[in-house]
């Protein structure tokens, strides 16, 4: 049978992108157009549909900026602005990336440590697990300013408070995944270790740690995305001078919707890249242990 164009993978991707873009343009016309009509009517000026359509896509502070405006702003602040400048989106991205990575590493270490404790100690499971779950039911937006203020009182400012908030969000998926993963060892393998009289730590390093890895990587993908959200949220209420969060905040102060959308686009791109990097690590590691991927 001849392969049709509809079977191609790229075809689906292209169609999807076109559909999203078309929908976006339609929504931009509707939202910005309504605003323009209201303005004309308030000023008692004449308007035609053709002028509205033309203007809706180049409003300076649109309700919903169309894709080309967002992309132009993104391109300008990424490629046509010096990286050291405060107007550079690359600069802000690096600021956010810094606390994201620090928070992610701290969160992973904390998450794994709690999981190990829970798996090896029944008391710890009963006493600790409710707190772990409760910690995630508190809205991060509510607790983020408190963390910043408390840490500021002991002279911890800058990247640390933001990283702590990232950690707060990212340890949870790691703990949940690792508890499951560390318990996922094959029963036969566990009995094998038992017949050889392996100690807990030997069983951990020879068996449990490895059987947990697929779970760990699944968790890490969630955790790194959560760490990014944490970093951005941490930049919102703290009046931070840099970071994608501060770009969002200043954009909303001054009604710079295009700036907000460009920062959002950048955040999405960053999140996507971070998850891809984790997946790449996963693949390399699995290949090294000889499992065909």
């Amino acid at each position: 049978m001849k392969e049709s164009i509809f079977d191609k993978k790229w075809f689906a991707i292209v169609v999807f992108i076109i559909a999203i873009t078309a929908l976006w343009y339609a929504a931009a016309l509707w939202m910005n157009g309504n605003q323009l009509v209201k303005t004309y009517e308030r000023k008692n000026q004449e308007w035609t549909y053709s002028t509205i359509i033309a203007e809706a896509y180049q409003v300076k502070r649109p309700m919903l900026p169309p894709p080309h405006q967002v992309f132009a702003q993104w391109y300008k602040t990424v490629f046509d602005t010096k990286v050291t400048s405060k107007r550079s989106l690359v600069y802000h991205t690096m600021v956010t990336l810094q606390s994201t990575m620090l928070g992610f590493v701290l969160g992973t270490v904390l998450g794994v440590a709690i999981a190990i404790g829970i798996v090896h100690n029944r008391t710890m499971e009963m006493s600790f697990m409710p707190w772990v779950i409760a910690s995630q039911t508190i809205p991060i937006l509510a607790i983020a300013p408190i963390i910043v203020v408390v840490l500021g009182a002991i002279n911890l400012t800058g990247v640390v408070p933001k990283a702590i908030i990232s950690m707060y969000l990212s340890f949870f998926p790691v703990t949940i995944g690792m508890v499951k993963g560390l318990r996922s060892s094959d029963r036969m393998h566990l009995e094998l270790m038992q017949t050889y009289n392996a100690s807990n730590s030997q069983t951990f390093w020879m068996l449990r740690w490895y059987s947990a890895q697929p779970f760990l990587f699944a968790s890490l993908k969630v955790a790194i995305a959560a760490a990014l959200v944490g970093a951005i949220v941490a930049e919102l209420p703290t009046g931070a001078q840099g970071g994608l969060g501060s770009r969002l905040l200043s954009g909303s102060y001054y009604g710079q919707t295009v700036q907000i959308w460009a920062a959002l686009f950048m955040a999405a791109l960053l999140g996507l890249s971070l998850v891809t990097v984790v997946s790449l690590f996963e693949k390399i590691l699995l290949r090294r242990r000889g499992v065909s991927v």
């Binding site: 094959d186 094998l192 038992q194 050889y196 009289n197 020879m206």
Partner: protein, 280 residues
């Protein structure tokens, strides 16, 4: 060879295989019972087991599923605890024997760690007992050669066939030179041709290493082919119905399977199994 009326006789029938009574008793099971508490009520997995296994013997447990043959092996290996009676292994409790690293256990599946190469898999028990790297290499070399896997050191388990994986798991069990080799239907998942081959290999290894082997199987010809003693078991409750001492030589080859003596022994086992089924 004689039929056994009760388990006390069964106990005696195993050990006097060799004319000299100075052979050490490796495993001594006395009035052992094991009851599992399940949601559907208690299950008598093992009932009044009496058995002596001498050092260097190759003893097979045979019986239909549910007869407790695997459970009995697991009690010996300290993977299950009896609820009544006693068992001693090498003069101590199974737990102490396990703590002294007396056991090599081969499971129904190869149970190799997929993230380790064949060589590193064999190293697991050696690493656990803290042997030096040089000693590890020496042992692994020796036993991988013995099971014919000397050219597969660096392969991962998934790169090997099922039979090769099982051989690797036997090499792993042998590497620490355990006094006791416990095997739970190790060749059950293999095709008959591979199984025949593995039986011959196992006999050679057993003859070379002089280990005591306890072997669980549901294949009559396998039991005849390998064992010095065959323990026939029956279910509900799991119990020993007959212990047969093999009149065949210790070392057997595949040609022996066409002899009269081989068939006679197989027929005796089959009769013992059928007898119990009639009672069931």
């Amino acid at each position: 060879m004689y039929a056994v009326e009760n388990s006390t006789v069964a106990e005696e029938s195993v050990s006097p295989q060799s004319p000299s009574s100075n052979k050490r008793v490796m495993i001594d099971v006395k009035d052992l019972s094991l009851v599992f508490q399940t949601n559907d009520g208690p299950v008598n997995a093992l009932s009044d087991i009496n058995l002596k296994i001498g050092e260097g013997d190759f003893v097979s447990f045979i019986g239909p599923s549910g007869c407790g043959k695997t459970t009995l092996l697991r009690v010996i290996a300290d993977l299950e605890k009896q609820t009544a009676g006693s068992i001693s292994v090498n003069g101590t409790t199974p737990e102490d024997a396990r703590l002294n690293r007396l056991y090599g256990y081969v499971f129904q599946a190869a149970a190799l760690l997929p993230w380790r190469t064949i060589k590193k898999n064999c190293a697991v028990p050696l690493e656990i007992s803290g042997h030096s790297q040089a000693h590890q290499n020496k042992q692994i070399d020796k036993y991988l050669r013995m099971v014919g896997l000397q050219d597969f050191h660096e392969k991962y388990p998934w790169q090997l066939s099922g039979g090769m994986q099982q051989r690797a798991s036997i090499a792993r069990a042998l590497c620490i030179e355990p006094d006791l080799l416990l095997m739970d239907e190790p060749f059950g998942a293999l095709d008959e041709i591979t199984r025949d081959h593995m039986n011959v290999e196992l006999l050679k290894i057993w003859d070379e290493t002089k280990k005591t082997v306890v072997f669980v199987t549901h294949s009559i010809s396998e039991a005849v082919m390998l064992s010095t003693h065959i323990v026939v078991m029956s279910p509900r409750p799991g119990r020993i119905t007959k212990v047969i001492e093999s009149p065949l030589p210790r070392m057997k080859d595949l040609a022996l399977r066409d002899t009269e003596a081989f068939h006679a022994l197989a027929a005796e086992i089959r009769a013992a199994l059928a007898e119990e089924h009639a009672i069931d």
